[in-house]
Amino acid sequence: MAGSSTSRMPLAAALEVLVPLREDRIVITTMGAAREWPKLSQHPLDLHYIPSAMGEAPALGLGLALAQPKREVLVLNGDGCMLMNLGCLVTIVASGAENLTLVVFDNGIYEVTGGQRTAAAVSPAQVDFAGFARASGFASVRSFASLAAWQSGAAEMLALPGPRFAVLSVEPVDDYQLTSPGPMSERLARFQQALAAA
């Protein structure tokens, strides 16, 4: 995990930083972010990817970025999801899409299933998500190990050339509960209406 255990930021606080910065971006959430973001934002261009295919939120975001090249897409992903689909980092860069920002919230565990540690968390290596993104060719890559650093650097990161990648060291959550945000068909219809209207 990036950063020390004493400096990890609460996920909700990390997300709160993004609320005033998202502007008219499409925001795709999954896993922990999908639990916390709706408490902070009720924007018509929010898409909570639930139910999901774990690991595929960045790919869904890439498809939207390619279809909507004049709009920015922000994908809020987890570290377990990222590990499941590292190849998508290469796919994103190879596609040529520049209007995509991928943020990974790294807590080192699978919250949904009760907090088991990821392979990266127990690896003797210091698994470096930012390094993966950098080596894949992301134009802009940042790591944030504390809430203060994220608060002071988030706006700048979002203004950098894309595609952008940020990894944030966040605290694990003990009592993970993810409730359904409602029928997917209705949410998708509202999202498509918002896209068409914007």
Binding site: L47, P51, S52, A53, M54, G55, E56, A57, A59, L60, G61, L62, G63, L64, A65, L66, A67, Q68, N85, G87, C88, V90, T91, A94, S95, M184, S185, L188, F191, Q192, L195, A196
Partner: protein
Amino acid sequence: MDYPGPQVVEIFERLGFTHVVWLPDTALGPWEAAIEASNQIQLIRVCREGEAWAIAAGLFLGGSSPLVVIQNTGLFESGDAMRNVLFDLSMPLLAVVGYRSALNAQSTDSARAFTEPVLAAWGLDTVIVSSADELPKMAEHFERCRLAGEPGVVLVAEGRM
């Protein structure tokens, strides 16, 4: 079995596809140059087939008209992503799937054995194209799926294994 790329891409263009999201096999790979030469279609290369379904879902949501092009082995690999976008998200996505070993009746390739039963289990409307002469079946099938608002698969048979 050869399926000429220009003939295939002409069908894709006529059907209005805007993006081909692919990880090809030996039957589909020769279409690469023709797809890249298209002024209408953008080729998106993925690293693993599950990505193809999710990218296609995002493209569809954003108003584009994507086509997934993968091998049957990739179909097996990408089951969870396919399940999610076709059934949870109810997206009528279309796919061309290379049907490895289909033309080799003596083949013991398990990919050949399981392809049609797996597609039937998913309930996906599927047709098989077994020669270049049968390529018009591809267009007819996709047009029928679009009219029905349902997902659909065209299996492109080959027989090297």
